[in-house]
């Protein structure tokens, strides 16, 4: 329980508040006490002055009468009038030894018990002494009231602090426990679990959202890895088997260099597929964003069209570039080039001989949209039902089974597009297919 950091924090705050309450109480007590003592002393001095005036006006008998009168009044101060020889003349107080000015002496009260009295002794003309006193414990009695009030407040702070801290730590602990449980479940292999989000947008929710995004990324990478190993098994086993058979056959009937050449060709195909798979998985790993820089799609398109136009022309087709102005994006030129090469090769292959393929670069149409690159051919197109699946690894249209290609071209296109945050869409342009890659707006 005390290993909960929230509880520790709440306890710390409670202690700090309690100390503050005690300090406040002490200061209040001291200042109140001093103020009260000053006020009581002022009352005594005022009475002494009043008696001196009485003496001047009425003489000794006036003072004696005044003292007796006050003695009878409840709640009044204590008085005593002494003759020059020290004999008591009036009043309850008689302390012949009391020095002039302030002192504290013990006086028997009306019940005969000793009582501490704060005494002020003054001399009237003629040598008479006037004593005026007050119960010295009256200030301390008030102290008691104050201290009780502060002890109550102190207890209140303690109770609220402990209860609040406990409640707070339980709430936080419940949510931490749920994060922990999710993590444990993932460690045990259930990667689909996510940390629950309460929707309060507090710091724990933000933490949960970040953790969930991290988990999404991790499971994406795991999925990618799984996919790659599956693909490797799926698409490399067949050609490897073929290669093995070829080598076995050449062993049985000693063949010329043609057999070895064929085997080398098989091997190169396998290596090509392998390289393409690795490249796709590397792109999907997303580690390439660091290489992004301002890139003009038109430059890339020009290089690719320049490179492939002669091949297209040799088969009776054409490959052309249409661009109005620069189409800038943030991207990786090498990957974009490879992506466009795949698109163009795909279009030339699918549209067959006499293919007319156009590459179009469009600058951003409106603010907040990005540049686009389009590859339009005049081939048979892709049936609507197949359009989503052409981006899968190794997916090949039935019609293209007989043509060369490893079925990875469009998967690579999809991976590069995803890395750039671009959207790929296929459109029927009757006749022909338009592949449109729309990049996001630049920051």
């Amino acid at each position: 329980m005390f290993r909960s950091s929230t509880l520790r924090l709440a306890a710390l705050y409670t202690i700090a508040f309690a100390i503050a309450v005690v300090a406040l109480g002490a200061v209040t007590l001291l200042t109140t006490r001093a103020a009260l003592a000053r006020q009581f002393d002022k009352r005594i001095l005022f009475e002494a002055g009043a008696m001196a005036r009485e003496y001047r006006a009425e003489g000794l008998s006036g003072v004696v009468q005044a003292v007796r009168e006050r003695d009878r009044t409840p709640g009044a101060l204590d008085y005593g009038l002494l003759a020059p020889g020290g004999g008591a003349m009036a009043g309850r107080l008689s302390a012949p030894g009391a020095p002039l000015g302030w002192s504290v002496i013990a006086v028997d009260d009306h019940r005969g018990e000793p009582e501490r009295t704060r005494l002020y002794a003054s001399v009237l003309p003629g040598g008479y002494r006037l004593l005026i006193g007050d119960d010295a414990d009256r200030v301390e009695a008030l102290d008691g009231v104050l201290i009780r009030a502060f002890v109550l407040a102190f207890l209140g702070v303690l109770v609220l602090g402990v209860a609040g801290g406990y409640g707070l730590s339980r709430g936080v602990e419940r949510r931490i426990t749920s994060i922990n449980a999710t993590a444990e479940a993932i460690i045990d292999g259930d990667l689909s679990r996510r940390v629950p989000v309460r929707g309060g947008d507090d710091e724990l929710d933000r933490l949960a959202i970040t953790l969930n995004r991290m988990l999404d990324r991790i499971s994406g990478l795991m999925e990618n890895l799984r996919q790659v190993s599956q693909d490797v098994a799926h698409d490399l086993r067949t050609p490897l088997t073929r290669l093995r058979q070829r080598l076995e056959a050449s062993l049985a009937s000693p063949a010329g260099p043609e057999a070895v050449e064929g085997a080398l060709e098989d091997l190169d195909t396998i290596l090509g597929t392998f390289a393409a798979l690795l490249r796709i998985s590397q792109i999907e790993g997303g580690a390439r964003r660091a290489a992004f820089r301002a890139t003009d799609l038109v430059d890339i398109a020009r290089t690719v069209v320049d490179a492939f136009a002669p091949s297209a022309e040799d088969t009776g087709g054409s490959l052309s570039l249409e661009a109005t102005g620069p189409a800038m994006i943030d991207g990786d030129p090498e990957l974009l080039t490879q992506m466009l090469v795949n698109l163009v090769e795909n279009a030339l292959r699918h549209a067959g001989p006499a293919a007319t393929v156009r590459v179009k670069c469009l600058p951003p149409e409106r603010p907040r949209t990005g540049a686009q690159i389009l590859v339009v051919d005049n081939g048979p197109g892709v049936p609507a039902g197949e359009r989503a699946r052409v981006f899968d690894r190794f997916h090949r249209l039935e019609s293209s089974r007989s043509t060369p290609g490893n079925g990875l071209g469009l998967a690579l296109l999809a991976a590069v597009a995803r890395l750039h945050g671009a959207e790929v869409s296929l459109h029927d342009v009757n006749p022909g297919l338009e592949v449109r890659v729309a990049f996001p707006a630049r920051d």
Partner: protein, 224 residues
């Protein structure tokens, strides 16, 4: 030429050493990074062929060390990791060329030959000449037998690259990399297509062919 081969795989090293020897080179072999570094720093070589992944001291560390020691010998890096960034990393560490395993021996040989430095020309080169074919590097104009030949920019680049390596084999991949900056293998034979156009343009009635096809390797421009 005198070559240094730093390769830890015994079989690969033996094969390369024999094959490079048959191609007329003298090959020293180092099986570990440490030996490789000692030889590279101590002996003058024409080209160093350096495997990137070595036990102990890896290839990039060796490369950085010998470059820091002002050894300017051209280095061809061999690697089994064909990652996109790995090539850039290798070139930044001071490598001159980069070849991903597995490779055809012809490719390695062509690249080693291309890397070997020829004695520097006494004057700054302003023209390249093979037989009666001449490129003026300043005006970027091509003539054969005094007659001017019009080339597309790419065709010019292709020819210039071949002529700069005149007498040596240039592979398809080398051309894809240097002329088009394509660091992957397109399915279409674009090099062959461009090459046949270039050949057609520089062909002259009665004059011998200057661009030769080297079977299983690539192309070579040389005097007939």
């Amino acid at each position: 030429m005198k070559l240094l081969l730093v390769e830890d795989d015994r079989e690969t090293a033996a094969y390369l050493k024999r094959a490079l020897g048959e191609a007329g080179h003298v090959v020293d072999h180092a099986a570990s990074g440490r030996d490789g570094l000692m030889l590279a720093a101590g002996e003058p070589y024409d080209v160093i062929v350096l495997d990137r992944m070595l036990p102990g001291l890896d290839g990039l560390a060796i490369l950085r060390t010998i470059r820091a020691a002002k050894v300017k010998t051209p280095v061809l890096l061999l690697t089994a990791v064909g990652g996109i960034d790995d090539r850039v990393e290798g070139l930044e560490a001071g490598g001159d060329d980069y070849l991903v395993k597995p490779f055809a021996f012809a490719e390695l040989l062509a690249r080693v030959n291309a890397l070997a430095r020829r004695p520097p020309p006494r004057d700054i080169q302003t023209a390249l000449r093979v037989a009666d074919l001449e490129i003026d590097l300043l005006s970027r104009s091509v003539t054969r037998g005094g007659r001017r030949i019009d080339l597309q920019p790419r065709e010019y680049q292709l020819l210039e690259y071949l002529m700069r390596h005149a007498g040596r084999v240039v592979t398809r991949t080398m051309m894809l990399e240097s002329v088009w900056d394509f660091h992957f293998d397109p399915k279409t034979n674009i090099v062959e297509t461009h090459m046949s156009r270039l050949r057609a343009k520089i062909a002259r009635d009665g004059a011998p062919e200057l661009i030769h096809t080297v079977r299983g390797a690539g192309y070579c421009v040389r005097e007939p």
